[in-house]
């Protein structure tokens, strides 16, 4: 096994007095695709927010390249090569498609991703580059959100429920694009409600339940019963 690029050790996270994560141990290596599944409110988004600095956590509970990075500001995390496609996309409504993508490149990390390359991959975005990003269809907006994250040339891409609210055919289109995106050794974390999709696109998976890891292992190594128990508890 390659040394983990990102690791969390006993990660705990709080919103005010309410604790949302109770000691998450997680790791992902270079070039790996890992899925995180779990019911609504299990803590999946909180986990991604903790890793990216949107929720403050203790320094030594998040390690990037082995260095304590918990509690860093989001800007420092993205400059270290971890980019988030946030839940609900959160595009900038007053920015055009192209301006949204350019914002993603704000961290100025060197790497293969550029406007040209994204436009080559999603030609529709080139066509619509001048229009407000939030005037696009849901699927196209998701492409912008993913493209915006890629513009920072991440080593690890975190995707929070990118299929939410999209038509099945659009979901398939987006997940089909994933292997090409990750081809150059980028690691990907996929947060998904759809267990089948999650298993299909990932090598390993974690299931969260009420802020704890309830199941962990190779994505194709579980029975339905194991997963549904880990997903819902008893």
């Amino acid at each position: 096994m390659t040394a983990p690029f990102l690791q969390t050790v006993g990660l705990r996270a709080h919103y005010g007095d309410a604790q949302a994560l109770f000691g998450i141990d997680f790791h992902i290596g270079e070039g790996e695709t890992v899925a995180v599944i779990g019911a609504n409110g299990a803590g999946k988004s909180t986990f991604l927010k903790s890793v990216t600095g949107l929720v403050r956590v203790a320094p030594e509970t998040v390690l990037i390249d082995g260095r304590p990075s918990g509690g860093s500001v989001p800007g420092d995390i993205v400059r270290q090569g971890v980019a988030l496609v946030p839940e609900g996309r959160r595009l900038f409504p007053s920015l055009s498609v192209e301006e949204n993508l350019l914002m993603g490149g704000y961290a100025r990390r060197p790497g293969p991703w550029s406007l040209q390359r994204l436009y080559g991959m999603f030609p529709i975005l080139k066509e619509k580059r001048k229009v407000p990003a939030t005037s696009l269809s849901g699927g196209q907006q998701q492409m912008v959100a993913i493209g915006r994250a890629l513009m920072s040339n991440p080593r690890l891409l975190l995707c929070d429920e990118i299929s939410l609210g999209l038509a099945p055919i659009v979901i398939k289109e987006i997940y089909d694009a994933l292997p090409a995106i990750a081809a150059e050794g980028m690691s990907v974390v996929i947060v998904e409600q759809d267990v089948m999709v999650a298993q299909r696109v990932s090598q390993r998976l974690y299931c969260f339940q009420e802020g704890r890891v309830s199941l962990e292992g190779a994505s194709d190594g579980f029975t339905r019963e194991q997963i549904s128990q880990a997903y819902f508890g008893i």
Binding site: P86, P93, Y106, S152
Partner: protein, 286 residues
Amino acid sequence: MTETIIQGLLLGGLYCLFSLGLSLMFGVMRLTNIAQGDLIVAGGFAAISVAPLVGGHFVMAGVVLLPVAFAVGYALQRTVLNRTLGKDPLPSLVVTFGLSIVIQNALLELYSADPRSLDAGELATGSLNLGGDIYVGTLPLLILVAALACTAGLQLLFSTTSLGRAFRAVSDDREAAELMGLNSAKVYSVATALAFVLIALAGLFQGLRTTVSPADGPLLLLFAFESVIIGGMGSFWGTFVGALVLGVSQQVGFKFDPGWGVWFGHLVFLAVLLVRPNGLFPKTKG
């Protein structure tokens, strides 16, 4: 009547400069700067104090004052105002209200209650013939041109530069902007720094055109508010037009009865609010 309207447009130019800073700070960080009017007055007094030190010419006073205003705005935002921002608008209102009181009292202490003005030199008496028997003062015309240039400049900055893109992004979604690596505290500070440059310019022109006195601030704030709201929040051209509408309304009222000028402005403001609650040019949401 033409004469009245032209005078109103010229007055509106000054009101536009009163309001652009307010519009900018509100647009970028939803901060309503209650001290706007008092800061304009402070800018006017600062120009009056600086002018004799730099040869007496107001242009030189401006050259010294505007960069200082930039630095003061940046520092104030960085050290104080950033701490007041959040979902709740009350802390920033309370703090800028407090700032307003502090400035009024400090000015009263330093300069006494007497109105003072800044010497405009030959500009004060110069005028231009617009054809026929219509003349406009050079100084009011210069102020209107400056307002036009500042509005166009801000609009260009916002729509075409990467700084403008950053302003719009933090305004849309601060957290998402920080995810991209933006430091919103710095972006806000640059916005306030620019607003303070506009405020200082407004104070300088106010001192040149009429007078400043420590108690003027609240009325100037009111004019700035009315301009921004008539024009529609979040649009600089809207603010420009709103200021002209207010200026013309006041001049028309003044023509009927010298006591009615400001009141007529308030009436037009209320009328616009009734007919178009979001102002003449509401920001179109994407």
